[in-house]
Amino acid sequence: MPDSNAGVAGDATHETAVANQAPAPAGGPGARKPTDGKPTIGPLQLFISFSLLTISGFGGVLPFAYRMLVEKRQWLDKTEFAELFAIAQMMPGPPILHIAQIVGHRDSGWRGGAAAVLGIMTLPTLLMMVMGLAYHQLGDIAAFRNALAGMSAAAVALIIVMGIKLAIAVPRRVRPWLVVVLAFVLLGLAHVSFFIVMALLLPLSFWFAWKESH
């Protein structure tokens, strides 16, 4: 498992390393193995477990998810986690939500999936309301604003590092790097809408990857 400061990018590079050996699980991501004798986990337990997970995660919840799901509760083994992560990466939105939903769904159907997602979302949302209020109350104090500016400058470093770690995983060939550069220029410099960038680059990148695998 990558270190906790790797965040999304660390897991993504981790994923690219293991994805090639990990085929999609038979019967789809929602299916439980028939040989699996583990007792099913109810929606309430899922909600509580994922609530505890989400508030223990600083700077990204994914590494903590691995610790809880694989090491502590053993709801998944290593390979299952890697497979789940690969599947979650291919769906739109935050991978952690998909992992929670699939784990929940496997044991308690759509109610379990909903309970797990609500577990991830509820406490942080309430916390963000408190933070919003705090910003509203303290936002005029110069020292508070300066501290936030300092925090922001540090937080930027995290994002840049995620990008660099992923870029290291990009094959050193012209076509993949053309996609990296185009995505950076269009979204970062030209401020083109995300939808337009994706509509242009997802097919292009897919075509490149497809050609290289043939």
Binding site: N5, L127, M128, A153
Partner: protein
């Protein structure tokens, strides 16, 4: 038929914000909600002027320093757009479209027959995600690092994070300290 209430609803910042976030979360493949940050910034700061650039980056920093998934910065920007309702709407808009997609995928299953396509798809996401995340970093850096000292600190922290296994929360705390003391 009186549709004034529909106009009032769809014309509100709360609605437009939620709809935009929902569209993003429903299409953000590869990199999640951090990769769409330049688009969120463009929409709420440049296009609609709901939030100042400073509020935007503050929201991002506060969300990073709080426990919970880092995509919750959306909920905090929601607070600045429309108060607690904006936070709630932001959270729902981030979570619901992906959850529906995930539900559909679970129900349809994902058989092995699409294995080759899946592999190519997954490989195509890596350069895309890298480019999107670097763009996010660039957009944030150009708004946040308004002094050379702040820019220097960001660069030093990038090197530290790449070279060591220090927990990022320490660096955020150090940034808060240096900023609060007026050293940046």
């Amino acid at each position: 038929m009186d549709v004034a209430w529909i106009d009032a609803l769809t014309g509100s910042a709360l609605w437009q914000f939620s709809a935009h976030i929902a569209l993003l979360s429903g299409t953000a493949i590869g990199g999640g909600m951090i990769a769409v940050m330049p688009d969120v910034h463009r929409f709420v700061v440049e296009t609609n002027h709901w939030v100042s650039s400073e509020q935007f980056t503050s929201a991002f920093a506060m969300a990073q320093a709080s426990p919970g998934p880092n995509f919750l910065y959306i909920a905090l920007i929601g607070w600045q757009v429309a108060g607690w309702k904006g936070t709630l709407a932001g959270s729902i808009a981030v979570a619901l479209p992906p959850a529906l997609v995930c539900y559909a995928v679970i129900r349809l299953g994902s058989g092995r027959e699409v294995g080759v396509l899946q592999k190519a798809f997954r490989r195509s996401l890596v350069p895309l995600s890298a480019g999107l995340l670097l763009a996010s970093g660039w957009v944030l850096a150009t708004t946040v690092d308004d002094t050379w000292r702040a820019a220097l600190m960001t660069m030093v922290f990038v090197v530290v994070l790449l070279r060591t296994r220090v927990h990022p929360l320490w660096l955020i705390g150090l940034g808060a300290l240096l900023g609060g003391l007026g050293l940046l």
